[in-house]
Subunit: 398 residues, 4 copies
């Protein structure tokens, strides 16, 4: 059983508490900290939390706190983590880990040095669809991964601090891209080194200093490409989709707007439909169990199980740091307009990979390119002559 202290009583704190309670789980929220007392009181009441406080250190140090769950604005993550280090409490931090890789690396090293358990709350790497996809990919069903794209776009985040570049550390790339980057990284392989990043980012709609729309490409050492598409300007709800291309297959995941649940309503009997839905009449696309579909329940299960078994969780502070390093490169790229190298002073994966060969033998004299059946039933075989490099086709007419 895990005794949890939640730092932060806002949107994400409530989502975490929802995921931890009310499911006949053996874990419980025992302490809550919020900056405003009224928020703390309301939270404690809504989720039956025994202790509440507006003093962060008090919350962390509280004897009823075994795990600290950081659900605070980005600019407070490092402070909160360092207090966990001080009080030797296991710590789980929401995404992104830091505003920069420097912050993230400091947190990672401090926790490792102190020997405390540190989990990175990257919920979208725990959705049921993601986990099953990852298993399929690891079993080889898609062959060698060529490209992994993840997209998260919606009409913008819930709280003021997200829109303030000082407090948040960035815009849509930091807020949403952290998910997309880690999803693609998992599919491509966590031990494959991200090498360089190209990113376009712009402020197209909102009156803010940070970007509200960005697209980025992350090149990995083995030639695979990760892609992220993020925006706070999307209309129509929250769009969460992933796509993977491999030499042997394809995966398409829709995690939110098209999950096999469709409702039309004239607007009678108004009620909450889904996170970031734009309307409560017309065609609606609710999600059955949002917290589960967004990965929260599997995430906490992995965290607490790993802790109890003395193992690493699937997503660690180190992963958060790699993600931050990729984001740092993305922000540099958005300014310099160059492919920017990913700076990873600490890298624990494979080194020196290269792109696999593209030559597949057809027979002693030819490399294979393709074969196909045409609409009228004709067959075509396309080959490359080894000796000359010439490309030839052999047709079989019906």
């Amino acid at each position: 059983m895990a005794q949890v202290c939640i730092l932060g009583g806002g949107f994400i704190g409530r989502f975490y508490a929802d995921s931890l309670t009310g499911r006949r789980g053996k874990d419980q929220v025992s302490v809550v900290y919020a900056r405003k007392e009224e928020t703390a009181i309301r939270f404690a009441k809504d989720f039956q939390v025994a202790h509440y406080t507006t003093n962060m250190e008090e919350a962390i140090a509280h004897p009823a706190t075994e795990f600290v769950v950081i659900a605070l604005p980005n600019y407070l993550h490092e402070e909160a983590v360092m207090l966990c280090v001080k009080h030797k409490k296991a710590v789980l931090c929401t995404k992104p880990l830091g505003r920069t890789a420097d912050e993230a690396l400091r947190m990672t090293q401090a926790c490792e040095k102190a020997g405390i358990f540190a989990g990175y709350l990257e919920d979208l790497c725990y959705t049921p669809k993601f986990l099953k996809s990852l298993k399929s990919i690891q079993s080889g069903a898609l062959g060698r991964i060529l490209w992994a794209k993840s997209r998260e776009t919606h009409p913008g985040p819930h709280s003021d601090w997200f829109w303030d570049i000082q407090k948040a550390g960035g815009g849509a790339v930091l807020d949403l891209g952290c998910h997309c980057i880690e999803i693609a990284r998992n599919f491509i392989g966590k031990d494959v080194k991200p090498v360089e990043v190209m990113c376009w980012a712009d402020t197209q709609v909102k009156p803010i200093d940070a970007e509200d729309h960005a697209i980025g490409l992350v090149k990995y050492e083995n030639g695979a490409i990760g892609q992220f598409e993020v925006s706070w300007t999307f209309r129509g709800g929250m769009d969460l989709r992933d796509e993977v291309m491999g030499t042997e297959g394809t995966i398409w995941i829709n995690s939110f707007l098209r999950t096999g649940f469709e409702m039309f309503t004239s607007g009678a009997g108004k009620s909450y439909v889904a996170e970031k839905a734009e309307s409560d009449s017309g065609w609606q696309f609710p999600v059955g169990d949002e917290a589960h579909e967004l990965g929260y329940t599997n995430m906490f299960t992995d965290m607490f199980d790993a802790y109890e078994k003395g193992e690493s969780p699937m997503e660690t502070f180190y992963d958060g740091y790699v993600v931050n390093a990729i984001i740092d490169a993305a922000y540099r790229s958005a300014k310099t307009k160059l492919w920017e190298p990913v700076q990873l002073p600490e890298w624990r994966g494979q080194e020196g990979l290269s792109k696999p060969s593209v030559f597949q033998e057809y027979d002693a004299d030819h490399w294979f390119i393709k074969e196909e059946i045409l609409p009228n039933g004709d067959k075509k075989l396309i080959l490359k002559v080894k000796a000359t490099g010439e490309i030839i086709e052999k047709e079989t007419w019906v």
Copy 2:
């Protein structure tokens, strides 16, 4: 915390155990009974169950048994329930409750007389999509419910006894129709009396005595219609879909084959994709977390929570009995080719409902029928003259 004894080590018993363990739940499986010792041993090992036995009564009477979960073939349900009554253990029974309403009513009454908790394990009335739909419908988002269809078809069940009409008590209607009937009944309103049933059933493909395909209509006292479509002859996987029409809206649920998760694979790296999938290459449609999407986790949560609070669960033995009564009428109808009355010697809902009026006033002289915009932009208003009954249209040209 619930201490659970599972009776039956087959497909559904394993699915129940999967749902109860490994999710950081506070409940545990403490006893397992199976007819064959090797099955019991394997089950106990796979799910870390402390006690196993091939003696059903011993399992039920075991001190480590607080809840009995019946995951046995249909012809053994009554015997198992009566042993729970004898030993005063809370009992949860898989679907269908009985082979007939008579059996189901005897079980219901025996449990009520003994004062034991009795829950009906109708998992598909606990799927995340179902629960959210039910909430929307109850909030009025669909207005008055006119029709609720539920479809479950797949290439046939897992165990020999399903195909034996003596042991199962029926074919696809009993096996799958029980889900569909209860889904529609929930959407229409559990306190609305099912009045009569028309059912077509046939053995189209399989060499068995029971039906392998059936379609039925259930008429409710308020004029609403429930529809079930069930088959063991479907090709392409397991098709689980519900549709609801109301005066103010529509719901379409796809619970299995199209849930926003699509995979193409050449067949490399073969692995389990989904329950009743027919192939492991080509386009696949896995479900993220099958047990959750099929309602198992929410179902046990409701059962144990209700027990601890001293309340009724959402699905009770009484509900199972009403479903069996509708199925009995369906089987009679399939033979007599008549609309057969639903015989409910015990009915606890509303009585004497009738169909609501279809007259909606447009103005003092007219009833409203419809208004529409045509492709060229013209507008049409269609009305019924109160005085004469004449139907008229008023057109506005662009």
Copy 3:
């Protein structure tokens, strides 16, 4: 080149004219008849029609009329057809052919006796998806057809006369069921005799004498089942879906609301989205080319090509008559609550079919029932012992 006279200047007449003109087709609309002069004038102007009139016989007899296309209310079909017979003009009649099979048979026989070309404008049996499905089914891709369901529901038709049971001859069954019945009949096989019909029909929402919602089952001589679901009370647009189950496969067609075209709009820049759409903001589901997707262009191509080649079109008056006979049985059934025989005084297909055998040999001693892979990788084979009828299973554990 076909010179066409359109009778009727309403919704369907305009749709027909749209399909015939503006596509670089060699056919043209040369004459139009409408009951009201203003409608005729507007139609002639919108579609560049040389001649217009409010006299039906004059339109039919007109020298510029080679083909007569009847786009009139149901109660005028027979009169119009008889005038075509009188003037020996090729005739194409909209659906349903008659209000009853009697009317339809009289029209069929009159045209045949007069030797004029008579085509039945059943557009939904000409949609691109329908035609490709039919070809797949005829090639054997689905094996033996077990069940074919067609659904058409929307918020109600465009003109006053539809809602008047005297003029229309019926309600949703006649208006929409005629499509669904002929679709299923094509998939099952046009030469397979429809034997009996069970139909539920009710007036649930609209203040009219005819039914606004109905569901029917049509049993064919070979044991196959056709199903229709029709309604004028559906909310959310126009729902056009077909489903087919065969021993070797499945087809699912969505012809309107989900065709791979999705749009969200705040409502800015209002414009026509789709036939029977309910709103112009929120999520919309337009169809690319409505007239083509609804089969109109392929339908006229088949009609005129067949005429020029001296062949029968795919859909003839005889087909319209069979559909009417099935509808007649459906209306009787809705009243008597019995399976009503389809009365076909004239039947030109096969006679004396029966249901195929369900016995498929596994080995010398067993009939085959099923084999399956379970979630944990176990394999199950289910067989019936020929000698005893006993059902057994063979399990292979991982």
Copy 4:
């Protein structure tokens, strides 16, 4: 009526001929040229073409040739166009227009100078879904366009010359990107200048010199972004999808693999399913009428109509040249890894656009950022203080 000469008897030539004949069109194919005589003979027979030849100039100069349709490998386009110029024949050229913008500009200028009609056969800018989307966007339903993405990926093209970088002039970018670029350009606005391009391209799977996978971003002068994703390495069929984001809405188009037509087959009765489908058993996703859904029929309609009216078609050689200029920049970018300027020595659209303001007034003191309803019903309003730039939130609790 148009008399058409088709140059090229391969895959695309046949698709064009299919689209031109057999639909009761008034246009006809009167001459065909192919490099090999057997191909020319077969083509003439299959499509009832009166004249065939293996001499290109003879075909163009033929008196039965009014329109020349170029369906030849890329390296022959310029030669064919110049012969049309010489013989003053109207010319329609398949995509891409040139291998480079230089080639394309020469062709464009030669035709304009000669005063001959020149149409660019960009079929995917004529699909029914595209045309309806374009109309919606032009009506303002999506507001200001922020981003337009088009994706075309499949397992590789049909003929040997595509795979030969000398003959084709490039790989997937030239073959598929030309579609994607022009689709996005239409949605963003054809008179908005494309400014610079960033492209990643690699040869990941095939043993060829050109790229088999690429992703590109095209920045327009008004700040809008076009995106293309192209590949010859995709598994699962042909993936054709477009997405558009605007300030007021969203469009998602799926033109091929998910169009509301789904079929499962065991593989019985094998037949052609769809262009570039990978298998004929399991789940299949056919397209109803491929030629129509891919835009061919609308494209020729526009071309011939425009010619007869003395107008420009929707897609001209000038458009083909702009596309080539963007592709040239993409290829430079793939090598230099820089954002490369689009070089348009000839530009006929708007100049000097800039990105619109992001400031939307909420009240005298605040800029508007966002408002939202949270899961528990709370409301949040996020604003920017004009005077200070501070971002604030106002919460309304339930």
